[in-house]
Amino acid sequence: MSVILETVGLEKSFDAVVAAHNINIRIHAGEVVGVIGSNGAGKTTFVNMVTGYLTPTAGQILFHREDIAGMPTREITKMGICRSFQIPQLFPELTVLDNVLIALTIARRGKRGWLRPAIDAGLTQDAMDLLARFHIEEHAHKLTTTLAQGVRKLVDIAMATVAQPRLLFLDEPTSGVSAEEKMSFMATLIDALKATDTSVLFIEHDMELIEAFAPRCIAFYEGTILADAPTSQVLENDKVREFVIGAEFHRSADDDAQNDMQKGA
Amino acid sequence: MTHSTLSRISSHWLAATLALAVAPAAMAQEEKTFKLGVVSFLSGGASGPFGVPSRNAAELLADAINNGTVPAPYDSVGFAGTLIEPVFVDEASKNVVADYQRLVQKDEVDAIVGYNSSGSCVAIAPEVEKLETLTVMTACGTSQIFEEIVTEPHYLFRAASHATMDNVAAARYVVEHTPAAVDKLGEIAGINQNYSWGLDSWRDFSASIQVLKNDVGIANEQFPKIFAGQYGAEISALLTARADVVHSSFWGGDLEALVIQGAGRGLFGRTQMVLTSSDTAIHRLGRQIPDGTIIGARGSYNIYAPDSELNSWFRQAYFDRYGVYPVHPAYQMVNAMLGMKAAADKAGEGTEEAIIANLKGLSFDTPGGIVDMALAGGHQAITGTSYGTYKFDKDTGLGTVENIVSFKAECINPPAGLTSQEWIKTGFEGADCD
């Protein structure tokens, strides 16, 4: 398998706070990788750096051997790295269908003149197909503000896939999804993504989901990588058990509640 | 939405608009009156000093003319018998031209008087000739109207002199009639609002001073924004500049603020202040205006108005109705309306055509003295003006003026055929000041 993403000595600090230190990761084509770590361990900072939201203080991000560190988000998206968000980033006053239609419009812009209607029957069909793949076509004509958190998550992820990424980051895809639905939610998701041969890297707190869907797992702790190996090994690792999984048990339900509250942010 | 709904809604709406548009006009047809549009500032900063006095004067005079209570020679009823029906309009508008068109076409006025701002006058001047409606402008500082914009007027008149007169007269008053200032006059300074009126006034005043006396320098020129209200820094700058004479064409609230702030800080004591449009401030500020300040009233109006039966009647009637004495914009409005009455009476017919034919070149009496429609082929008035120095009368508690000098119209207005600018440059060629 060929390496599509490689980070070399990635660092990020905010004033005196070090958010990421010496991050070296390789992702291969078609791989599914789980990322674990307690809150503030540097998982999202890592994703933010790779997707261009943050500029690393030092180090390289090589995507197909090209250094993309510090490039604008939109360029990185165009190169084939996309992401979903912990708090879904939708167009709140529009319907689900419109959200996806805009995403498709942007992904396919340049093929259409400025004065040609952006949305036609073909595009609408494509949008409905995409929603069907995530099993949310029934919500197409609802405003996103009226949806349940799980559906909002799926819309967010669906929008992240329209640019046909080579590498997709999913930031806590199941946060806000009820415990009993998590497994089937994740199955739907991975199914939908399998249609493409996208590499997927997902951040998750639920170890069962990691075990079920990620052959490989990376554990973050205080801005560094604690372990990076096949999932079973990582989950057995003593340090991981002490610093990451142990912490997860204490992670209160409040976090989820708070996430829900911020959904409009 | 369907087209049918759109058209249904718009046709209802259209019908309603049309009904509204036609209704007032239909009512006006019943009795034959002379419908007179009166345009002045009824809102904003120019309403207090200019617009409302102007409107009040129009209202007072329309009633008096209709009742025949104006003294001779205006003691007949109406415009040669035709009663006047005034329609008041606010000059403060973004679409002053469209509003003018509306007055003519919707309200179907027979004539229009008013307009204070030169911006409005410049904008509507060409429109007057296009729409062919008698329009008598009452004020406007700018001299461009007949010099540049409408060079062959038929419908357009102006019953007031332009601002060049104010500033030429002010310069003459300073140089020729202020012995204390003239010998040591070395430098002048100015504080004028940063818009056409202020810029033009200062240009005319400083040029005239330099024509009248050699080697006068300019110490400082301040052009604060109109309606700024706070002149602390400008006054400091004028105080440090130590000019012998400071000129200002401020008006209204800005002028009163300048007097309060300047007098409070001794600016008026250190230099000779010349305020070209300041009669409106007298009854407001009273003793706050330092004695010795040179006061202008944009003509022989208000405090400078001649002692005539017409003037005493006007002052008393205005005071009785509005509780204050009339200021120059009120006089200017009266000029315009009396001019129209004089023309109508002369023709013996109260119609637009009769007034146009007879107002041209007419010379008529007003509370402010004789108005002579001498320039621009008989369409632009020249009037005399007066300047004097302020003196607060402690006994009566009223502001007065002393050392009054009246200037003949021919002394301070350019002769026909010469623009104001050219005339000042030639050193007031042909000025008749005896």
């Binding site: 004065l115 | 309009v89 919707k106 700018t142 056409s196």
Partner: protein
């Protein structure tokens, strides 16, 4: 014309309607229709920026650029041909907005509003103190000529009216297409969530810049048409109160459709005319009260009234088009 939608058909039909109005309505009202078209284009420019969530409190800048381009073309170059004037105005506004857009496209919300206001006020101040351009008195414009033909009197007025109607409707139709097109959709998305737009792989700044420039161009066309029909320009065109008026028109009219700001401008003008007539001393209060009532009962603008009416008359036709 096969792919015309309802709005486009309405704009097509509006042309003969406007021509008929010229003949049917009293002259003074035709004047307000005509100046409302010029001003309406500026309101339209404010509206397309509002689609992106940007409130321009300085659109008077380009309105003024258009007006002064017309005036100065005659004053300094002796050009009175309206097509040449339009080309000059469009070129001037393109250059200016191209440069200013580099700065402004980074700003949102109140900061965009205040920065556009500041830039416009700088032009207002410069023009107010420039003697050569008549300071605040401004100056008058010539009668328009059309490729060598210079109609005067009634014919001149009618010719300008026809051209104004044609240009206004064409501009509105093109803007409508633009809003339905890809950039229009992106702009709408920027208002909703700029972060997501960037993550979808397009530059929010570039789309905002393009929208700003298009708004500038149609404002300057509006400025030319307005100034030519009134025959006069003053720096007041760039004053913030003028720009503010356009914003209020758009909020009152609604941003749902390109026709809304055009009609809204005319409604506001007529409202002002009658307010002044009913109460020359306190007409501002009447405007204020009408505004409040509109906001209370129609927070989405007057256009939402029409939408409601059309929905009621056609219950089966679902709101297919997302014109909020």
């Amino acid at each position: 014309m096969k792919d015309f939608d309802k709005t486009e058909w309405a704009l097509v039909i509006a042309f003969p309607v406007l021509l008929a109005l010229m003949v049917l309505l009293p002259r003074w009202l035709v004047n307000y229709v005509q100046i409302s078209m010029g001003m309406g284009l500026v309101a339209l420019a404010v509206m397309i920026q509002m689609r992106a969530g940007l409130v321009s409190f300085g659109q008077g800048l380009y309105f003024c650029v258009g007006g002064y381009a017309a005036g100065m073309a005659d004053k300094f170059l002796g050009i009175s041909d309206i097509f040449l004037i339009l080309i000059l105005a469009v070129a001037a506004s393109l250059v200016l907005s191209g440069v200013l857009g580099l700065l402004l496209r980074r700003y949102r919300e109140i900061f965009f509003a205040m920065l556009t206001l500041a830039v416009s006020m700088i032009l207002f101040s410069l023009l107010s103190s420039s003697h050569g351009l008549g300071s605040t008195d401004g100056f008058n414009l010539p009668q328009a000529s059309y490729l060598g033909w210079t109609p005067t009197g009634e014919t001149g007025t009618a010719a300008l009216y026809v051209l104004t109607a044609l240009l206004t409707l064409t501009s509105a139709a093109l803007i409508h297409r633009f809003l339905r097109g890809p950039v229009g959709k992106i702009v709408e998305a920027i208002r909703e969530n700029e972060l997501r737009v960037e993550y979808l792989g397009t530059s929010a700044h570039a789309s905002v810049h393009a929208t700003y420039m298009i708004a500038a161009v149609i404002s300057s066309i509006g400025g030319v048409l307005w100034a030519m029909s009134l025959g006069h320009v003053t720096p007041e065109m760039a004053n913030w109160t003028t720009s503010g008026q356009f914003v209020f028109i758009v909020i009152l009219a609604g941003t749902g459709n390109v026709i809304a700001p055009l009609v809204g401008t005319f409604v506001l003008e007529v409202l002002r005319v009658y307010a002044v007539e009913v109460s020359p001393n306190t007409w501002q209060m009447i405007l204020g009260i009408v505004m409040l009532l509109t906001i209370v009962f129609l927070p989405k603008g007057l256009w939402s009234l029409l939408e409601r009416a059309s929905k009621r008359s056609l219950p089966h036709e679902h709101a297919q088009e997302q014109s909020q």
